[in-house]
Amino acid sequence: MATTEPPEENGSVEQAPTSAALDRLLAAMPDAVVESEFQRGAPIARVAPARLLEVMTFLRDDPACRFELLSDLCGMDLGMVRPDGERFDVVYHLYSVEHSHVLTVKTAVADGTDAPSVTGIWLTANWHEREAFDMFGIGFAGHPDLRRILMPDEFDAFPLRKDFPLEGREKDHGYWRQPGDDDRYTYVAEPPEKK
């Protein structure tokens, strides 16, 4: 949401981006923010999962921040990018109608551990967290109704993880691909026997 920045004039020197909300957060809870940066003008704060609820409540209620709108919540698989660290990021995009400013909050979650649920702070997080759970298998502690939302209930994988094949698994769509003549595939109903 770098649109908060004034459009750059040709040839002008790029100004260092600032964010009142991020400054306020850093001033109020310096120990909660693991790291903060600006990406293309937009402020990003990384918060440890343990302090997340505290930070989020502060961000919503503090008069200088007032992030009433959770614009988006999504998961992200960083298994390839940081193979040693936590596998997932949960990304929160906040917006304040009152001050018209934005903030991105991120928290890192390891595979198999839960992120705290922010459904108590923003009701909209309910479905977003269900989606993140559905797509990445990120658990959300304290979520009232954590079940699959887009995929069928009996589905047993997490499709947006990087290790899930793009074409889907053959057993999910119920047919198996066999190389046929003429460089084309034929589709068969039974799994082909392994030679």
């Binding site: 293309r40 009433e68 991105t104 923003w122 009701l123 995929m151 947006l160």
Partner: protein
């Protein structure tokens, strides 16, 4: 022994008024809704996964298919995100063209909403009248980019093509004709006692609650919250346009109806202004042929017809995105359905599904 128990009924996924393949599990006490649970995912095509496996040019094709009622708005927000990643800007003429097309698309989308909403409540003719006007807009869009729904019209750095000869005149003609048509809809619906009875005080939601639910767009503004991305964080050339953001006072279905109708009028004004102000010049800035943005991330929001359309793109320096997230306003708005529907009757739930203006392709992605 006689006993009473709640009637459980499945509204959808095959049902005339679920706008696609939405399924709502309803618990009824007589005709009164006790509980409703929307079940989605029947149209899940994995656009986000595709966005991570296709390059930036190819992914735009998938944005057409998400909100297929308002493809240009989806194209626009995605391309804006790509441009922001690349650090390029669109050519000045292209920016005006984008605004014109996006606003025409907004009118078309609102017309579909009005048509289906009215049809759900039983006003059959409005459906066809609205589609007649929408046809005119789709003809304009087809004349510009060659496709009516899956436009694929916008490119990073500008537009694919310039307007063909006579296009601006045709667009002006449409704008001149449009208010008379809107007046007809008003006569048929706005003051009609049946329509008022069916929409007033149905699905009331306060501004605060709507914000907490993350509702955006006309549904939020009908609850009296003044948040329009076009005004709050102007993109393209919206800052140069003069237009009004209509707000509601009660936050019921009738307010949402009034707000959207007023938005159509305002969009028409924006189109006229942009047509008048549009400069001559090239429509495309210089952009590398293979789009390989430097690593980094960007979250861009736009005002779509249904609410805040968001795209979160994380680049890893290659020509495919590391993470391509589409935030859908319909997905968020639909979440409030149980809250809106509680205590109303079966007939109202179709009015509520209509008033939220959902597109299942946008919800499931």
């Amino acid at each position: 022994m006689l006993g009473t128990r709640e009637l459980e009924i499945n509204l959808g996924p095959q049902h005339p008024s679920t706008h696609g393949v939405l399924r709502v599990k309803l618990k009824l006490d007589g005709e009164t809704i006790v509980e409703s649970d929307p079940v989605i995912g029947y149209l899940h095509r994995g656009c986000e996964k595709l966005g991570e496996n296709r390059n930036y040019i190819q992914t735009e094709v998938y944005t057409d298919r998400m909100d297929y009622i308002a493809a240009i708005n989806e194209n626009l927000v995605y391309i804006e995100a790509v441009e922001k990643l690349l650090g390029v800007e669109a050519a000045p003429r292209a920016q005006y063209m984008r605004v014109i097309l996006a606003e025409l698309q907004r009118i078309a989308s609102h017309l579909v909403w009005l048509a289906t909403h009215a049809l759900d409540i039983g006003a059959m003719s409005v459906f066809l009248y609205c589609f007649r006007e929408r046809e005119a807009i789709l003809d304009l869009i087809e004349g510009y980019c060659g496709a009516r729904l899956t436009t694929n019209a916008i490119r990073a750095g500008g537009m694919r093509l310039d307007f063909p000869d006579g296009w601006t005149g045709a667009a002006k003609d449409f704008c001149d004709e449009f208010p008379a048509r809107l007046k007809e809809y008003d006569t048929l619906l706005k003051t009609n006692r049946i329509w008022m009875g069916r929409t007033k005080d149905i699905g009331v939601i306060s501004g605060e609650k709507a914000l907490s639910y993350g509702i955006t767009g006309p549904c939020l503004r009908a609850s009296g919250v003044n948040y329009d991305v076009r005004k709050a964080m102007p993109y393209e050339v919206y800052s140069e346009m003069e237009f009004d953001v209509p707000l509601g006072s009660v936050g019921d279905t009738y307010d949402r109806y009034l707000v959207r109708l007023e938005e159509m009028r305002q969009s028409r004004l924006i189109v006229l202004q942009a047509l008048a102000k549009m400069p001559e010049g090239p429509v495309m800035n210089k952009v590398p042929k293979r789009i390989k943005p430097p690593a980094g991330e960007v979250y861009v929001v736009n005002e779509g017809p249904r609410g805040e359309l968001g795209v979160y793109l994380v680049s890893n320096g290659t020509d495919t995105a590391e993470r391509c997230r589409f935030k859908s306003p319909c997905f968020v708005n639909l979440q409030a359905l149980p809250e809106l529907a509680k205590g109303h009757m079966v007939a109202d739930i179709v009015a509520l599904i209509g008033t939220l203006d959902i597109v299942l392709g946008c919800i499931d992605r």
